[in-house]
């Protein structure tokens, strides 16, 4: 473990005219981790990442990538950092494999292009020009171009936006393999499940600031005290009398039959609560089918922090 994090952003401010896109943002990315920068549209995710990539100069604050200044040390940083833009980046008339092979040629020790093409299913693009590829094919090509130079650190800006489930999983698998081979990955997303699936560390960004950062588990736990977001659900006979159950449950717990035969017990979940429910089921002779434990999800955390109003 090295002392200097892969990315260190402190007090970053970036304005476009009168609009403040990033407003005093702090972010630290440990080496060899997957960090998800999660936030609603317009939160400042892309601006932050593009500042780390050296495309934007901070109006205030400092940004260090692999210990260097992304603008001043650009020439030394570029070979070490892989970049996937949110869209575009390829000659409109170029073919997928041609462009990937070209990108590989700009690097000293690139990955095996054919293996990468096969892994990401780019072979099927054939001789089709980039501008006629599907959105998913364009995304996968951009991902391949970001990793083909064997970088230490990759920035992926919404790598799975608009992908079908197969391509999404292929992308996730690749990100996991990158991490286990020692690559640091920073990705932006507004997909909670993506952050939960992949990230060691999640930074929730809203209105240009990081409003929470931690592992998905830590973030979920930070919301204890919102017991209405935890529940046991099960199915049984319709019309069971919940009186005895309610009497046995501790205060602050609610039980209800939502639709005939579908039951929900809400409250702080612990083994004792589960045992109480199970004992009651045994008493009334019901097998609790499809018994599930619902925990607060990252989505709940996210919505609690960023609000439920639609953003313009």
């Amino acid at each position: 473990m090295e002392a200097e994090p892969a990315v260190r952003v402190s007090g970053l401010v970036k304005r476009y005219g009168s609009k403040t896109a990033v407003d005093g943002l702090d972010l630290s990315v440990g080496r060899n981790t997957v960090t998800a920068v999660l936030g609603p549209n317009g939160a400042g995710k892309t601006t932050t990442v593009e500042t780390c990539e050296g495309y934007r100069r901070p109006d205030a604050g400092t940004v260090r990538v692999l210990g260097m200044d992304p603008v001043a040390d650009a020439a030394r940083l570029r070979p070490r950092v892989g970049v996937m833009l949110q869209s575009g980046g390829v000659y409109p008339g170029a073919r997928a494999v041609e462009m990937l092979r070209h990108t590989a040629r700009l690097h000293a020790h690139p990955l095996d292009v054919d293996a990468l093409v096969e892994r990401l299913g780019l072979g099927s693009c054939g001789r089709t020009a980039y501008r006629r590829l599907s959105g998913g094919q364009q995304q996968r090509l951009a991902l391949a171009m970001a990793v083909v130079g064997r970088p230490e650190l990759v920035f992926l800006d919404e790598p799975t936006a608009g992908l079908d489930p197969q391509a999404r999983h292929a992308t996730w698998d690749l990100v996991r393999d990158l991490r286990s081979d020692g690559v640091t990955v920073v990705l932006t997303t507004h997909a909670m499940d993506e952050a939960e699936e992949l990230a060691d560390d999640v930074a929730i960004v809203d209105r240009g600031k990081v409003i929470a950062q931690g592992s998905p588990e830590e973030l979920r736990r930070a919301g204890d005290g919102r017991p209405e977001q935890e529940a046991l659900r099960f199915r049984g006979r319709a019309g069971l009398d919940l009186g005895a159950l309610l009497k046995a449950l501790p205060d602050g717990t609610a039980a209800a039959e939502l639709t005939p035969g579908s039951y929900r017990v809400q409250g702080p979940l612990d083994p004792q609560l589960l045992a109480t429910v199970a004992a009651w089921c045994a008493q009334v002779g019901v097998m609790p089918d499809r018994l599930t434990v619902e925990r607060r999800t990252l989505e709940d955390v996210f919505l609690d922090l960023t609000g439920r109003d639609l953003r313009s």
Binding site: E53, Y55, V83, G89, Y91, P92, R105, A108, H109
Partner: protein, 259 residues
């Protein structure tokens, strides 16, 4: 689903040697240009058709003694340089900017100067092909060129620099669609008013003084002076081209936006 051996992605970063990057980038740029139908129309078909058409039919009453092809060939060589260095390069670069190609390449190990060098290399390769094509067609039509090949090369190089600067200035400041429209419009206007097929003597003298300062006029006039009349080194035309090159490249360097 293929499984990948552990260690496949272990970081091994590094830029390729700059010579390899330059070669790869020049080859890619040239392939993109040769694959583009509209570009080929502009760079190969239009100059060749004009050469054949205007040689065969006396549409424009060319001035001076000698065969029409001796007047036309230098003008169309100038047009070929403009079509590639200015029109073609402006349109291609404008769309590369719009599609984020320049932005993405900015994050690659390829330095910006190497990208611009590769673009210049691509223009020069295309021009060599154009000059070869037009020369073969013109010779078949009975063209008998004169003059010093070094003077011709100097004119072509300075003309390329002047038109590249103006093309990149346009591509780097206007929207891609505006560049497409403007570059084509300028191409047609300069084709008609730049001494390419219509001698500048046909224009009223008041207008003519201005038209002679256009880069296309200087290039076609200079090439004609050498190839048709055997002049040693058309200093005036070279000076006009040099001024355009300095202004165009300087403004492009100052105002070009990569995104």
């Amino acid at each position: 689903m293929t499984t990948t051996a552990p260690g496949t992605y272990t970081p091994a970063p590094g830029a390729a040697p700059v010579g390899r990057m330059l070669l790869a980038q020049t080859a890619l740029e040239t392939r993109m240009l040769l694959r583009n139908g509209e570009q080929l129309l502009l760079t190969a078909v239009i100059p060749t058709v004009l050469l054949v058409l205007f040689s065969a039919v006396d549409v424009v009453d060319t001035t001076g003694p000698g065969r029409r092809v001796d007047f036309l060939a230098p003008g169309l060589l100038a047009l070929a340089v403009m079509s590639t260095a200015f029109t073609g390069q402006a349109i291609a670069t404008g769309f590369e900017r719009r599609y984020g190609v320049l932005k993405r390449l900015g994050a690659s190990p390829l330095p910006r100067w190497a990208l611009l060098t590769a673009k210049t290399g691509c223009v020069l390769v295309t021009e060599v092909l154009q000059v070869a094509l037009l020369s073969v067609v013109a010779l078949a039509l009975g063209w008998s060129p004169h003059g010093n090949p070094f003077a011709v090369a100097a004119l072509l190089v300075l003309g390329t620099a002047a038109f590249s600067g103006l093309g990149l200035l346009m591509a780097g400041t206007l929207r891609a669609e505006a560049t497409l429209a403007a570059a084509n419009l300028v191409f047609v206007l300069l084709l008609l008013a730049g001494g390419v097929v219509v001698p500048l003597e046909k224009f009223p003298s008041a207008v003519r003084g201005v038209l002679e300062l256009l880069p296309i006029s200087a290039l076609s006039d200079g090439l004609r002076a050498v190839l048709q009349h055997g002049a040693a080194l058309p200093a005036g035309d070279l000076a006009v081209l040099a001024v355009w090159a300095v202004l165009g490249l300087g403004a492009a360097a100052r105002f070009f936006r990569w995104e």
